[in-house]
Symmetry: C2
Subunit: 246 residues, 2 copies
Amino acid sequence: MNTPNINSVNCNSCPIRHRAVCARCNADELVELDAIKYYRTYEAGQTVIWAGDIMGFVGSVVSGVATLTQTMEDGRTQMVGLLLPSDFVGRPGRDGAAYNVVATTNVVMCCFRKKPFEDLMERTPHIAQRLLVMTLDELDAAREWMLVLGRKTAREKIASLLSIIVRRDASLQSTGLGENVVFDLPLTREAMADYLGLTLETVSRQMSALKRDGVIKLEGKRHITVPSMGRLLEEAGDDSDGGFIG
Amino acid sequence: MNTPNINSVNCNSCPIRHRAVCARCNADELVELDAIKYYRTYEAGQTVIWAGDIMGFVGSVVSGVATLTQTMEDGRTQMVGLLLPSDFVGRPGRDGAAYNVVATTNVVMCCFRKKPFEDLMERTPHIAQRLLVMTLDELDAAREWMLVLGRKTAREKIASLLSIIVRRDASLQSTGLGENVVFDLPLTREAMADYLGLTLETVSRQMSALKRDGVIKLEGKRHITVPSMGRLLEEAGDDSDGGFIG
DNA sequence: AGTCCCAATTGATCTGGGTCAAGGTTAGTC
DNA sequence: GACTAACCTTGACCCAGATCAATTGGGACT
């Protein structure tokens, strides 16, 4: 087991505090947030919560990667969200989880018990305002993904997924992106397939094809080098730099 | 032309006022909202705004149907949102429109100039809270649609679309839904295809198939009778009553 | 080193929905 | 009431990606 040391996660690295609250929080509010804050850890593969179950907290991902998935009775499953560090989980004002949340790597989450958080939100307007902006961003991401699912070819889908992960990685480290990028895939081929509305065989074939064509290099199954981000974005079918944070 | 009479649209039928604000607004806020409120009308087929253009207002649909679409350079287009009466358009805090907005029927929108609305939102916390809830609902709808796009067959996709339209119609009229439902499709076959990630030919074929199998009855091209909503939901592949407002 | 296990790759074949093409329907216009 | 222009339906054929079925590879245990 390889869980990060909780004690090393100080307040400044808590995304809620940092991203949703800090910028405009006064001292009292920060004390109040600390009082209801705690951490949870999950191992790779562990289910955080099942759709429909009561979710007594809201929170955000501090480290690791989790997924939101929906499943039909016959087993077909579709990933509807990818939770990377700083992403928010849970819905204020609703008790049941809407989706399955699964940790795909070891995950640390910064959580707030739901009721006190809602109370604080009631009293502290800019928290709702901040959550509104975050939710609008997620809505944009979901809609961007609808284009991927509805209209792109398998090859374009793979390239789109790789682009998104690179983009998120980069904005997290707030390092600019050169043409050459190296990163680790936090997803299995099956999880990629669930995200892309494909089968894992098709994912594998298209990964091989992108490798054969020099768009990516693979070391092992997960470690990826992208020699040219421009080329990758072309393969994704995105216009020149569509939303890309350079 | 057949635009509704603007003067007949009084404050109580304005969804922003009614849904986003009214419940908790005091008299001053209502006066302030009235001061920045105005109406816009669009004809069927007219583009409300192009992706990327400056959008000086936010607002909500009072009557009619509009669509949000994304387009790739080669012309592939995907609808990412269906705007029915009471739906909100525009993003506070952002100037450019993210998507093409097109009226598919004659549309009346209740609009607020962006800057004054943002100012009011700043001063009036429950507006942001109300918008947060509305945005979270939209996010859920977008994610539900990701399952449709990624994992459902053409027949299931059509049935899902019909279900959604029926559901929204019903919640609008807040009449309960019996088994037997009659309604008018507000979309062309092409618009349906753009929503579902299909071609218009496939939409047409599947509509014919659902008709042949007695799941729907068609009078003309748009007027639809659903003899059994239960059957339709089965065809959509939804679990028993998935979110269905009965 | 061997073996177990799971993730990933690769091949062969099949099929749902796309593509291309030819009518049919309906509403609006003169 | 014929003319036109959208919009829709239907048919024939094809292909991208699904399905079914072996292998292969790599890390964690003895």
